[in-house]
Symmetry: C2
Subunit: 160 residues, 2 copies
């Protein structure tokens, strides 16, 4: 009886061992997969931004997302954020190139650090560029997709 119990426990431990390794592997695989998912979402984001598609952009944020435009109050909720981007596009920010610099992840939260190069051309004016750095906190949804939950940026210094 004593031997049997020990044997069962031992077999159980053996059976669980691969799970522990699988967990460690999932962790590193997860980070690389998360980064790929975020970069792919960023491509969707810039495409929607170039179309001035506020509705599509709103759909990429969580319902209780907050955006933090410089010199502006916090914008709360995905609908309001979509409208903000649509207005930003209409004001002359035509094009954005996002570059992901770093991604951290723990469970359902991922934190992206990046830079964005903006092409700005208000109607009838010369084209200019601007560069910003940003932190986006992404939240994993029940269906496994990632949505923007916190979105904050500010200017990089102008290039000489």
């Amino acid at each position: 009886m004593k031997f049997t119990r020990m044997a069962v426990l031992f077999m159980l431990m053996l059976a669980l061992l691969p799970l522990a390794f699988a967990g460690a592997k999932a962790k590193s695989d997860g980070l690389s997969a998360t980064r790929t998912a975020i970069e792919s979402a960023n491509n969707q984001f810039t495409a929607a931004f170039e179309r001035g598609d506020g509705k599509a952009l709103a759909g990429m944020y969580t319902a209780d997302a907050i955006a933090f435009p410089p010199d502006h109050e916090m914008i709360r909720g995905n609908e309001a954020i979509g409208q903000f981007w649509q207005a930003t596009h209409a004001s002359g920010v035509k094009h954005a190139v996002l570059t992901t610099v770093a991604v951290d992840r723990s469970g359902d939260l991922a934190v992206e650090v990046g830079t964005a190069a903006l092409t700005i051309q208000p109607e009838g004016q010369a084209q200019t560029t601007a560069a910003v750095k940003y932190v986006v906190v992404w939240q994993r949804q029940k269906d496994g997709t990632w949505k923007l939950h916190r979105d904050i940026w500010n200017s990089l210094p102008a290039k000489p």
Copy 2:
């Protein structure tokens, strides 16, 4: 033999059950405790800032932290960030009041949204104030303490 194995497995499941409930409880307790820990760390931060104590501030960031001051390149590493704050204090930013607005957490990452009211008085000049909003990503350390890992802010609009 069959009965014994079943009995051992059943006892093992019974033994693990409280762990599952403890996990669920820790999750909700965790958010409120995390917010308290962050607010307490913020008090430490503002006290160190008022002393112009760059070394103490550096110790509050992770080794691979990044700070994102407006109109500035990213500042990488806790030593450089501590020096930045010391220089900011020396330039006349005397005092900061931090207000935590929201905290999200998943595992070892917590995301704080907040606002800061700054009192600025460069030598020989009149005192002014400024208000910023920020997102700080906190990373839990092995000893259970939380350190600033990403720290980004920008201006709120000037009050009329």
